[in-house]
């Protein structure tokens, strides 16, 4: 049995479902991210665990205890908010000490513990400063220290980096993970930023319209999306609509192209069944129009109609016989020009198959 069990949670607001049939087990010390677009129910789920919302049904268990039977202030959840929520009339030191004072910890213990926490978040000299005297990143570090000060049973972070600029966001993201690993505190992290979730989590829960779409490690979620939604939401994905041609040979017809995919991906599908072939842009090689085709791979003639510089890579927008595709290539390769004809090459095992013909969301 997992350390934390969320069982069949349901929550509606004014008749509109926000969380539907949410099941999740979180292991002791695990870092789990809830990832999804705005309104998918991820923050509501976190708020139910914290006790800020009451579910219509379901249970939140830690061991034998159902947290829903415990008052929010007795749950021992360390919460970090998007807007930091530091108490503006208290110094950083007193913000961190707040929970310990409420719990009636001895003054000597607080005097020892607060500097430890300030050091843990790298702000040894900020104890006397008021929140307004700290930058956004510093405020969030203090908020993290404040949440950790009560030695929480679980750490809940609600989009903690959303209000910060890109550089601070990356630095603090790594810092949060380092601290979490050091302390071994079970953590639930809510974000809509897929890059953040991929970088920081042991497991990711992708949510959509109050339901779980997929649970898995970053690698699994990225490489093996279980639905079109996940495929479209996590990273960039080429989605080629087609029909099963020869399932035993792993052949799928997408418009004018016959694509090779792993035959086992077509298991159980009849010829003519609609499928979506998923290929990541970085799995596609781009070569000259007259490049020789290799055995066992896919070769599609295409025309470049957009080039976007991404820093480490260039993203080519392509028209492959009416199929819109993108390919990420090294900035060292090329040069390529708009309007140029090229050949796209990708191996069969770079393709994932989703049955049905509903297009994935952009």
């Amino acid at each position: 049995m997992a350390h934390v069990e969320l069982e069949d949670l349901h929550k509606s607001f004014a008749g509109k479902p926000a969380v539907r049939g949410f099941h999740l087990g979180i292991e002791q010390g695990e870092f789990v991210s809830l990832l999804g677009p705005s309104g998918c129910g991820k923050t509501t789920t976190l708020r139910i665990i914290a006790g800020f919302e009451t579910p219509d049904s379901g249970a939140v268990r830690i061991g034998a205890e159902n947290l829903l039977d415990i008052a929010p202030h007795r749950r021992g959840m360390g919460v970090v908010f998007q807007n930091y929520a530091l108490f503006p009339h208290l110094t950083a030191w007193n913000n961190i000490a707040f929970g310990m004072r409420i719990a009636g910890r001895p003054a000597a213990r607080i005097r020892d513990r607060v500097p430890e926490l300030l050091a843990l978040v790298g702000l040894q000299d900020a104890g006397r400063k008021y929140p307004r005297e700290l930058s956004g990143g510093q405020q969030q570090r203090i908020a993290l220290a404040r949440a950790l000060a009560i030695e929480p049973r679980m750490l809940l972070l609600d989009e903690p980096l959303s209000a910060l600029d890109a550089v601070v966001r990356v630095a603090l993201r790594d810092e949060i993970r380092r601290i979490q690993t050091t302390l071994g505190v079970t953590t639930l992290y809510v974000t809509h930023d897929q890059e953040e979730a991929l970088a920081i989590s042991d497991r990711i829960v992708v949510m959509r319209e109050g339901r779980i779409e997929q649970i898995g490690t970053a690698e699994v979620i990225y490489a093996e999306p279980a639905s079109r939604f996940v495929a479209g939401f996590i990273g960039k994905m080429n989605q080629l609509q087609g029909r099963v041609d020869e399932p035993n040979l792993g052949r799928v017809r997408c418009g004018a192209h016959s694509l090779l995919v792993p035959p086992e991906a077509l298991a159980g599908l009849r010829p003519g069944a609609p499928v979506t072939v998923l290929v990541r842009p970085e799995a596609i090689g781009v070569g000259p129009a007259d490049a020789p085709a290799r055995e066992g791979g896919n070769h599609l003639p295409a025309r470049i109609d957009a080039i976007t510089f991404l820093g480490a890579a260039r993203r080519l927008g392509l028209d492959a016989g009416g199929q819109r595709m993108v390919a990420d290539i090294s900035t060292a390769s090329g040069p390529y020009r708009r309007g140029e004809s090229v050949t796209l090459a990708f191996p069969a095992d770079a393709c994932r198959i989703l049955a049905g013909d509903e297009p994935a969301p952009a």
């Binding site: 006790g51 919460v79 807007n83 929520a85 503006p88 707040f98």
Partner: protein, 295 residues
């Protein structure tokens, strides 16, 4: 200063008011003239008049202001202002919190509008309203009498207690209007953060919300105090000369009901202005603190 910097300074567009800037100042001219004519000049004349005695310039009028009657008038005005300001903050704070936390936007807007109207409903009309409702033959008095509750003679609207009730009528809504912005500034996440850290609702109010609201509440208290201290028409219409308040004394000296002594009235008025100025300065200092906390 080098020649180069002098040249730069002379040509610096920031040093010369632009045409638009000058036009903006022209727009302020009516306000400046109004302030000069109806605020600054009267105060200057008040200062001058309060310092003029039979023996020339001096503080004699202020010395004459310190008689037992006048000191009692100051004491009564201060007591009445303190009590009604405290009642306004106490009850008004609760009502304001109820307004900002109500889920119905319509109720919120209706109550705020009502507070806006009643905060400005003072003076003689308010006194008459209280006379016809809570006077000895007032509507409410007679209705209560009909169900066996006699307000009189235990209660009189023409007493200090009655006057305090009438003052609270405009003090309470004024507090509501003053404190609603501060209450709206209390972030939901502060309460949730305190709760997650183990605080009960009482602990949240005592350790987080009230310390954050304190400057605003204290500042509003000072403004309510000044508001009550300077009130005259309600007191005069309701109680006449029966209650010895400083504003009633000033009016009596100006009208010459007992003796005509405008110089003494001016000295009393100047002392009153000083008290109110301290209150208003305190209010601005404390609201500045609130803004700094919120920044």
């Amino acid at each position: 200063m080098t020649g180069a910097t002098r040249m730069a300074g002379a040509n610096d567009p920031r040093r010369r008011p632009s045409r638009r800037g000058r036009a903006a100042w022209l727009g302020l001219l009516p306000l400046l003239l109004f302030t000069l004519a109806f605020e600054l000049l009267p105060i200057l004349m008040l200062v001058r008049s309060s310092l003029v005695t039979d023996a020339g310039f001096g503080l004699g009028n202020f010395g004459r202001a310190l008689t037992p009657t006048m000191l009692s008038a100051f004491a009564n005005s201060i007591k009445l202002s303190l009590v009604t300001a405290a009642a306004g903050v106490g009850f008004g704070g609760i009502v304001a919190y109820a307004i900002v936390t109500t889920r119905s936007v319509m109720v919120q807007h209706a109550l705020t509008a009502l507070a806006d109207v009643t905060a400005n409903f003072g003076g003689a009309p308010l006194a008459f309203a209280f006379i016809i409702t809570l006077g000895s033959t007032g509507v409410v008095t007679l209705l209560l009498q009909a169900i066996g509750i006699d307000l009189y003679p235990g209660f009189r609207i023409y007493s200090v207690a009655g006057l305090a009730i009438a003052y609270v009528y405009f003090q309470l809504p004024l507090l509501i209007l003053l404190v609603i912005p501060a209450l709206l500034g209390l972030e939901r996440e502060w309460r949730e953060a305190a709760t997650s850290l183990g605080a009960t609702s009482t602990q949240y109010w005592l350790r987080v919300a009230l310390p954050i609201l304190a400057p605003s509440l204290l500042g509003s208290f000072l403004l309510l105090f000044a508001n009550a201290f300077g009130a005259y028409a309600t007191a005069w219409t309701l109680t006449g000369p029966d209650i010895n308040l400083i504003t009633v004394q000033i009016a009596a000296l100006v009208r010459g009901e007992v003796q005509l002594d405008p110089a003494l009235a001016d000295a009393l008025a100047l002392l009153s202005i000083a008290i109110m100025a301290i209150c208003v300065a305190g209010y601005h200092f404390l609201t500045g603190r609130v803004r700094r906390l919120a920044s």
